[in-house]
Structure formats: C-alpha cells, structure tokens
C-alpha cells in the first residue's frame, strides 16, 4: 500500500459497509459499473479543464490525468461486464430502458468557472480520498485477483494525480496552497452535508408523494380511466379553434 493513500477514519468506521458491498456478487458488479461511469465522467470533466486552462503545463497534466481517468472507466466497465457475463444475475433487469448506471465525476464543480488553483485543490483532496477508499476496496476483493489488479493499477495512477495536483497547486499559489487544500476539504465536507440533506429531502419528498398518491389519486384515477375509454384510437383531429394563446404554457 502506498504510504500516500491513507485510509480516512470515516472509511475505517464504514469498513463493515464496504465489506457488505464487495462480498456480494451483484453489488460488486453494480459498484464496478457505477465506478466506470463516475471515472469516465470525471475524466471528461478534467478534459474540459485541460481545454479551458490558460496554463500550458497544466493543460498537459490535466490531459494525462483525464486519459488516466477515462482508462480507469474502461477498466471498471470491462471488469463489470466480464463479471456480468459469468453468471445470470438480477442486475440484467436494471438495464430495461434506463440510462446506464451513472453519476458525475466532478459534479460539484463547474469546470469553466473555477480558477486552476481551486480545481487543483479540489482534485488533490478528491484523489486522496479516492485513493484511501480504493485501498480498502483492493483489500476487500482478495478473492478476485483481476479486480484487485485493477485497483492496484488505479492506485498507482492516483499517486501521480495526488502528487501533481499538490505540486502544481504550490506552483500556482505559492503563498496559500495549504490554505487552498484546507478550503477544498471544508468545501468537500459541506457538499457532503448538502448531498446528505438532499438525500433526506428526496426520501421525505418521495414518502409524502407516495402517501398523496394512495390517498388523493384513486377517485381521479377512476375518472381518468373512464375518460380514456371514451378516447378514440387513431387520428385525433386538431381543432382549428384550439385556444393557443402564445403566452400560455398550456
């Protein structure tokens, strides 16, 4: 294990959860495929950073970083797909018309609007956290040498990513690079809270709407089905007198 990829205390606490995820075949496949999307999306975001930065050296480094991330995405995708092929799983039903499982790599940042130092600090903190977590995952997939090898390879790249983001941050902000890292950590923490808050709000919202669904909707559902039976099948003439006010949303 790289000395640079230290495991965060929170991840140590969450170790049983990580074990629960990685010990189950379906959850493992799902996780790998989700990582594939996150890494690919992250890669595309870093690519964007390479395209907008005015700094030539950073452009080259971002480009290398993006290529790594996109490659990681491919590795995860190929491994997930290979596992998926080895046995029939209930995961197959997930792909019925839904977009592939996904996420967005650097969703928290609007790349175009971020100065390089903020992006570097964010990337450094994020890469460091990812390296710590991937170290745990690597150790949890001991029974699966190919998946373990992927984590090994990615961890080697993560060291490069952690290093360059930090050294470049020191180059572009020689006086305040440490402060930038702390700021990125605080911002990450806050965004984590916002994600949790949004998650709770989403769960509560779903619950409220589900209750509404069963309490309020039945009479309307009956009316809707009655109206549906009266609807002609085939062409519906478009009335020339239809009230289409240009400013109306209906």
């Amino acid at each position: 294990m790289s000395p640079l990829a230290r495991v965060a205390p929170l991840d140590r606490i969450l170790l049983p959860v990580h074990r629960w995820v990685w010990n189950d075949f379906d959850r493992r496949v799902r996780k790998l495929l989700a990582f594939a999307e996150v890494e690919s999306d992250g890669g595309r975001d870093i690519l964007r950073a390479a395209e907008v930065t005015p700094d030539a050296l950073l452009r080259r480094l971002y480009l290398e970083h993006a290529i790594d991330e996109l490659h990681h995405g491919d590795l995860f995708r190929q491994r997930g797909a290979a596992l998926l092929r080895t046995r029939s799983t209930r995961l197959r039903t997930l792909f019925n018309g839904t977009p592939l499982p996904g996420g967005h790599g650097l969703d928290d940042l609007s790349i175009q609007d971020e100065p390089d130092h903020r992006l570097l600090a964010f990337l450094h903190v994020a890469e460091k956290a990812a390296a710590g977590r991937f170290t745990i995952y690597r150790d949890l997939v001991d029974d699966d040498p190919q998946t373990r090898a992927i984590f090994e390879e990615i961890l080697r790249d993560e060291v490069f990513h952690m290093n360059y983001t930090y050294t470049q941050l020191a180059r572009v902000m020689p006086r305040s690079y440490r402060w930038q890292v702390w700021r990125a950590r605080a911002s990450r923490l806050w965004k984590r809270y916002l994600r949790v808050a949004a998650g709770i709000a989403s769960v509560v919202g779903n619950a409220v709407l589900t209750i509404m669904y069963f309490i309020l909707l039945p009479p309307f559902a009956w009316m809707a089905r009655r109206a549906e039976r009266r609807e002609p099948v085939g062409w519906t003439p478009i009335s020339r007198t239809r009230d289409d006010s240009p400013t109306g949303q209906y």
Partner: protein
C-alpha cells in the same frame, strides 16, 4: 425584430436566434457544456447566441419556448392516473421531476434572462418541429409530417404549410396521433431491448438492422396495429414506458422476443443471440418504414402536394426517409439538419416570428453552420506549447497537403468555420479518411471512434459526382444534402468504397454543394485527382460518449487522445509527433513532488 428560441429539459437542449426573420446563430448546449445530450436549461447556448449577435436580453422582442410545459404536465399526470396503482413507484419521481423545475418554464426563462412575462411565448412541441422542417426548407408549399417519441400529447402529426406571395405564412396541422401510441417510443423500446441508450442510440438499431432479416415482423405486428383511419395504435400490454420511467418494455414483450441484450455484451453476429438481435432490429425498422410510408402516401393523396417536410426525431432515420421519398409519391423530401428536439429551438423561433408575430416570410439560408467558429490561432498556440509539429498554409496549399495526407491513408481531424447545428458532422467538424478499405473502417472503429464493429461510416461526395457512385433516386441528392437518406452504393464501386459501404450495400451519404462548404468541396476534388474517386469517409469529430468538438482546443485534446494523424483548423495544420508522451511528464512530477511530499499536503 429579435426572437430567441429555446428547447430544453428533456434531451439535447439548444438556443437559436432570429434577427428580422432570419436565423443568425444556433447551438446545442452540449457543444458548449461538453456534456453529451445535455438537457439542462441552455444558459451557455443562449449566452453565446446573444454575444454572437451583440445583444442584451433586454433587446429581445420575444423569447420562445418550444413546448407548452403545463400541457405536458397534464399528460404526465393523466398517464400516472391511468396506470394507477401500477404507477406508484414512478409517480414521486415524475412529480418531483416536473414540479421541481420543468413545468415552470416561464419562471426559469425569466430568472435567467430577466425578460418580462409578455415577451415569453410558447409553441406546441410538434408545431416547433413542423416549423423547423417547413420554414427552413426551400419550398413555398409542402405537406408536413412530424414524428418523435412524444411532445405534449402528440407523437405524430400531419398537415401542410404555405409561404404566401404576400409574405404571410400558414402552418396547419390537421391531425395527430397521441401518446402512448408513438412510432418513436416503439423504436426506442427496441433500442432499450437491444441494450442501447434510449434517446441517443436509435441510429445503432438502424445500423444493426442491415445485418438482420425482418423475420420477426409478425411479432412486431402484434405490438402495433393499424387503425381503420390509416393511423396506428400500440398494444399497451407490451410496453411499460407509459406507466414508469424505468422500464420501456413489459415481460410480455420479453416473452415474444426472448431475453434482452445485456448492454455490456458485444453483439456477436456469429451467435444465435446476435442474429436474433439483428433480426429484431431489421423487423422493427421494416415496420417503422412501412407505417411511415403508408402515412406519407395518404398525406400525399390528401394534399396533392409535391413536397414533404419531415421533422421530429424519427426523421433522423435515413433508411425510412429514402423509402418515403421512393414510395410515398412526394417528389421532394426535406429533412432539416436538426430534425430532433434541438432543432425545435429554431422551429419555435420561426413559428413565433411568422405565425404569432405575423412577420413577413423570409428565405432561410439553406445550410447547417450556425454555431461557434473555430479559432485556428488557439490551436497553433496550444500545439506549439506542446511541442507538436505545426505549419500554417495558404488555402490552396492546405487543400493539396491534406489531400496528400489522405492519399497516404492518414486520418484527418477537420475543423472549418462555424460548427454544425444538429447531430450530423457535415464538413465543418469532421474526421476524414480514405474510404476504400475495410482496414480503414476497422482502424477508425478501433483506434479513433472506439465503437461497435457493425456501425457503418458515412461518405461525403461532391453533388455533381454523387450519381456516379451512388444510386440516387429523383430528389435523393436533396435528401443527401444533410445526410438524411441512405442510398445504395453502385455495385461496381462497392469494392473500392469498402470503408463506407454498409453490409447491405448502402451508405448514408452527404452530397456536397460547393457553396455549402467550399474548402471541403475543394478537398474532395483534390483527393479525387489523386485517387480517381472524389469521395471521403466523413464521421463526426468526437470520441465515443462525447459531443462533437466545437472549439479548436477541444479538437486538439481529441486529437491528442486518439489515432487521428493530422489536425486541421483553418490555415493551421498539426501533425502528431509520436514521442511527445506521458511517462516523462509523470516522472517529472514524481520528482517535483519529492520536496513537497513530506510537508504534509499529499
């Protein structure tokens, strides 16, 4: 009068600006945000359009949204009610999705642009499609057909339009087919079943169809029945998209066609499953074509008009378009370069300008190049900073040099002028290559586009030479203007055009007029002088999963990441230098980090 059109919130959002009745610019949000099929409110696209025309939001006379969001909400709610109680899982998400943002289109526009309420107008989704198809076509009277997944309620409409001599414009949609009966949704359901991404990969189904035989049309026929009035109705038991956002097809559908494809498995046409999937694609393709041809034929008989304008996402199906042209009785078929939802931004603006505001008719320039221009200096600077080989050439010398490179089997990233509006690369943001060998096709698939082997590449040919190499029916060249039709490659040329000839001997060609893209036209001629065939392979300048490049630096970063040999933007040509690579850079960084690693940061 300045009118801004906006399409947003479902897929492929875009903005378009009309000044005095003529489009001056249009761009999809994805081309600026770099998120493929970006459906977000197109703030960047609007900003670019306004900057391009040096306007402030306050200068706008109208901002037009491409559909009526409250009418759409009514449809979503009604469908949830009809599916009660099966819709209980999807209901909360559908409501949050709609009510959390989408239904408040006026508020969203107002909050971004600060324009007063009475300047914010709305058209119906299919009116926008109809206007985008009819008002951009060089015709004065035409029948109109629109077809897509769904707008508010309509999924397919027919009507007619007229641009009168006195300057007035009429667009009359006569009748519609309503959700859940939808050709677009039928095709998308098969797209999902075949393991492709809905609303994005429908063209893969069309490509795959050529490998199969339509042996399952009987089964597909069980899903869609024709109604006595000449329309069609889907049989709801086979579908679930009308009740839930997470499933397109039902278990009865699976009983009929067998297990769906795992999206992560490659399609192997040597296996029984691979052939079954290809046959499914061929069968739904055949049913789609037959249905569209019947509807178009009836519309021709009803209107007696010689021209048909076809809009909506279904109009991206080039094989169906070619059959409509050949079999419906219409002499000319016009499909705009952006027939899908992005094009609705132009359509909504044109509809409001001509119909709501009653402005006089104007001819719309007949080209697809409405987006940001490429900045060659930006490319030269970046490439020099990275120690790449950069040269700058006069136009004529550049054309000859690129033709030489193509003749030497090099792959060219070609950026020229303003970017295309719509999903097709029509010569301003293209990857160009020699079209002669299977090896070139395989190389592009393997090293550059990273995509499935079964997908064909398209050719571009000067319009005056198109008939030599391709079997174009009357009106075919027009359909090929924006790569909207698939036509046979003449048998005697198939072996020499192997990279662009699909398995069934067809190609989705672009027939290029000199006026539309003079530099590419000159390049085709120069290449023709070398190879004897003025045809090039033309594929969009992007990698798998990414939008087509817009700026020079996006082209450059794509060039650096794949097997493109030469990159051209205006007068600048960059050749790839193989030795400029990653490892030294990574080693340098590892060395630099030595002094900082111990300082607690990393």
């Amino acid at each position: 009068m300045k009118v801004l059109g906006i399409s947003a919130h479902y897929h492929d959002s875009a903005a378009a600006l009309l000044v005095d009745g003529v489009p001056v610019c249009a761009v999809q949000e994805e081309r600026l945000s770099r998120h493929k099929n970006d459906a977000a409110f197109p703030a960047a696209a609007i900003e670019w359009c306004l900057n391009h025309a040096a306007l402030e939001p306050a200068d706008l006379d109208a901002v037009v949204f491409y559909e009526r969001s409250m009418l759409k909400f009514e449809r979503i709610l009604t469908c949830a009610l009809r599916a009660f109680p099966r819709s209980w899982r999807s209901f909360p998400n559908a409501m949050k999705n709609s009510l959390g943002e989408k239904v408040w289109a006026r508020g969203i526009i107002s909050s971004h642009l600060g324009v007063p309420r009475d300047k914010i107008l709305f058209t119906q989704h299919h009116e926008s499609h109809a206007a985008a198809a009819f008002l951009t076509a060089p015709t004065r009277r035409a029948a109109i057909l629109t077809a897509d997944g769904v707008g508010e309620w309509a999924t397919l409409t027919v009507g007619h339009g007229e641009r009168r001599r006195d300057g007035r414009t009429d667009i009359t949609l006569l009748r519609e087919i309503r959700f859940p009966h939808s050709l677009g949704m039928l095709y998308s359901t098969f797209t999902a079943y075949l393991g492709f991404a809905v609303n994005e990969d429908e063209y893969k189904v069309m490509g795959l169809a050529a490998y199969g035989r339509p042996t399952l049309t009987g089964q597909v026929g069980k899903l869609i029945r024709r109604t006595p009035d000449g329309a069609f109705a889907l049989v709801p038991e086979y579908f679930e998209y009308q009740t839930t956002a997470s499933r397109s097809y039902s278990s009865r559908f699976v009983e009929l066609f067998g297990p769906p494809r795992n999206p992560y498995d490659p399609i192997d046409l040597e296996t029984a499953d691979g052939r079954r999937f290809a046959d499914c694609a061929a069968s739904v393709q055949r049913v789609l074509e037959d249905t569209l041809v019947d509807i178009a034929r009836a519309l021709h008989q009803e209107t007696g008009l010689s021209d048909l304008c076809f809009g909506g996402g279904v109009a991206l199906n080039g094989v169906a378009n070619a059959r409509i042209l050949a079999e419906s009785g219409f002499e000319r078929l016009f499909v705009p370069p952006a027939p899908g939802d992005a094009g609705c931004a132009v359509g909504a603006a044109l509809y409001a300008d001509r119909i709501y505001l009653g402005n006089p008719d104007r001819d719309v320039p007949d080209h697809p190049f409405w987006g940001p221009e490429v900045d060659a200096k930006e490319l030269a600077r970046a490439a020099r900073e990275d120690d790449q080989d950069v040269i700058e050439l006069e136009d004529a010398a550049m054309i000859e040099r690129v033709a030489d490179e193509l003749a030497a089997d090099r792959v060219i990233g070609w950026m020229d002028g303003a970017t295309e509006f719509g999903p097709r690369a029509l010569g301003h943001r293209s990857i160009l290559a020699a079209p002669h060998s299977h090896e070139m096709r395989d190389r592009l698939n393997r090293d550059i586009k990273y995509r499935e082997e079964f997908r064909p590449f398209a050719p571009v040919v000067p319009i005056e030479a198109a008939d030599t190499y391709f079997e174009l029916p009357p009106g075919g060249a027009r359909l090929a203007r924006f790569m909207s039709g698939v036509f046979p490659v003449r048998p005697e040329w198939r072996a020499r055009l192997a990279a662009i000839t699909h398995i069934d001997g067809s190609a989705r060609l672009q027939a290029l007029e000199r006026e539309m893209a003079p530099r590419l036209h000159a390049l085709l001629e120069a290449y023709g002088r070398r190879s004897g065939i003025p045809v090039l392979l033309n594929t969009s300048f992007n990698l798998s999963g990414e939008p087509i490049v817009t700026r020079a630096l996006e082209g450059y970063s794509t060039f650096r990441r794949c097997g493109i040999d030469v990159l051209v933007a205006g007068p600048t040509l960059v050749s790839k230098r193989a030795t400029v690579r990653a490892r030294p850079l990574k080693e340098d960084v590892a060395w630099w980090s030595g002094s900082l690693a111990g300082s607690g940061g990393v």
